[in-house]
Symmetry: C2
């Protein structure tokens, strides 16, 4: 059994309370007593019992993080930013994986909330995202921050990339490289996929390029889907000369398809992805991409949460959009640009 405050108290012939106060640096303890207590605690390697402390104080110093996929480097980066920013405040993270499944997410959310976490960060995998936020969050007083998947409602904390800007930025970059027939391999029917598509379309419109429905194909979220989608595009009578892909894995798949068809990148077809995945730089063709600022998202969510958790009355909800950042590499850099 671990050593308790009571052990130290009995040992030193003082009361439990005195120990408790001394250990937490209250001022109303004589210097002498405090020293004795601290020394004895050190000797005994006393470690406070957080469970008991939490029950009494109603604070756990734990933040829940519920994400669809840890293996996705975007979320790993978010998790990293979150832990780094939270650690100095003494918070730790309970991790839960929703596996991109709405029911699992619901279950994990309930579990995490039952643990009385002080705060919650959620990248929601809800299918019916147009509906609103998970019901268990509606009635909770636990502060939470939604990330990445923008909710339909606006009265909650949200941090993410501005996906519409992302789509526009990527598309306009392809234009700047001289592309005139620009296609989009689109992602799933969730906020990110839809908004990136919208950004793509509005960029085309803005610059007077015509949209062809043939130039928007579904490619999922993985390289296999990108590969197949690109093959569809290549089979068209007039294939595109620039493709904005939903994300980097999809773009990697697309690159494979283009190279296999004997075409060159970026000469025949320029490619740009999104996410700035770890190894984008080392791909067959170094991949141009839009950086979503994953670490920044984690850090920002952490800061919002810290503020909420520290306040007695909840501050007004914040919506922070991290501006996407263009990263140009070989896959889209055409010679006439420096």
């Amino acid at each position: 059994m671990a050593v308790r405050m009571k052990d130290i108290a009995d040992d030193l012939g003082v009361s439990l309370m005195t120990v408790s106060k001394a250990l937490r640096g209250h001022i109303d303890i004589s210097d002498d007593t405090r020293q004795r207590i601290l020394r004895r605690a050190r000797e005994l390697k006393y470690q406070p019992n957080w469970i008991a402390r939490s029950l009494a104080t109603r604070r756990t110093f734990i933040v829940g993080l519920v994400i669809p996929d840890l293996m996705h480097s975007f979320f790993a980066e978010v998790a990293n930013g979150l832990t780094k920013e939270l650690a100095p405040f003494g918070y730790q993270i309970v991790l839960a994986n929703s596996d991109e499944n709405a029911e699992t997410e619901q279950r994990e959310l309930d579990l995490v909330l039952a643990r009385n976490v002080d705060g919650l960060v959620l990248a929601s995998a809800q299918h019916d995202w147009r509906r609103g936020i998970p019901r268990c969050l509606k009635n909770t007083s636990t502060p939470f921050v939604l990330i990445d998947r923008m909710p339909a409602v606006t009265n909650v904390n949200y941090v993410g990339t501005c996906d519409e800007d992302l789509g526009t930025l990527a598309t306009e970059h392809l234009m700047s490289q001289g592309c005139t027939r620009i296609a989009h391999i689109r992602g799933p029917d969730n906020p990110n996929g839809v908004r990136r598509l919208q950004g793509f379309q509005s960029a085309l419109k803005k610059h007077g390029l015509k949209t062809s429905s043939q130039y928007v194909v579904e490619g999922g979220t993985k390289d296999g889907g990108g590969y197949r989608a690109m093959q569809e595009l290549l089979a068209l009578n007039v294939p595109p000369d620039g493709v904005f892909c939903y994300n980097d894995p999809v773009a990697a798949g697309a690159i494979k398809a283009v190279l296999e068809s004997g075409r060159s990148i970026p000469g025949d077809i320029a490619i740009i992805g999104a996410g700035n995945v770890h190894y984008s730089d080392l791909l067959r063709v170094p991949l141009s991409t839009i950086d979503q600022g994953a670490a920044q998202i984690g850090e920002t969510a952490a800061r919002i949460l810290v503020e909420c958790m520290g306040a007695k009355t909840p501050p007004p909800p914040k919506c922070v959009l991290i501006p996407p950042r263009l990263v140009v590499r070989d896959s889209s850099r055409r010679d006439h640009e420096v």
Copy 2:
């Protein structure tokens, strides 16, 4: 305030105990009473308070995971395997990042243990790994499993790849592809780096190839280090015709150096890495590698932990070595092999 058992009890005019028992499925409750209680609990959306339960039962159903770097896909995969395997038993994960730093690790370990986790998984970043295990683990009764970084002592649970076999497997593969001047870009001075080097050396010895100290260069753990190390090798009078790199990022850097020098892969120089990182397949040259079975490591650690956490007397320590698996891609596949 959340609803408590007492609320249900008062509501139904029964005692708190009856509610507690009914909710946990004890048999000594009449079917009728149980039904009423369960229904009311559902209506009120009762969620048990895990903090209070933990204090009473001394079980938290939390497992600590302390790793050096979440961004490393190896650890992300381990974390994934761990959560997946643990979830059905009701365990959740508290994540702590040691940042590859011994002191941070110590601090995080203390914190995690103070949370009364039921079990612990640790990939230790201790510098003096030859010394043994972190002292705070010596005296704890919390079951723990060490992973990836093999400790010097053997009386603890350990799950990892057999790094010596890994080195041998990679080296012998290069031989099978006709390489005769095989170099090793070695990793850090930790169990993994040292053992992979040993595997490399023993393979050379076994097959009667001579070892040259020039053919072993330090390359760290990232692509930058691999790039520089490869340049050193290329500057030799007689450069190698096959290189076993400590890990995939290092190999990716090495590939870059080789291609920049105008040489071909695998024609002039065959390359193999280790780790089977997510995008190895999509690199400039698809990278041959040794898969360490990261997910398997996480799952195995989970299973060992579950057994320990369920037992009243601790089972004898287990040491599980996951056999490394060769994954041949273009970077090492020479024509004379199919």
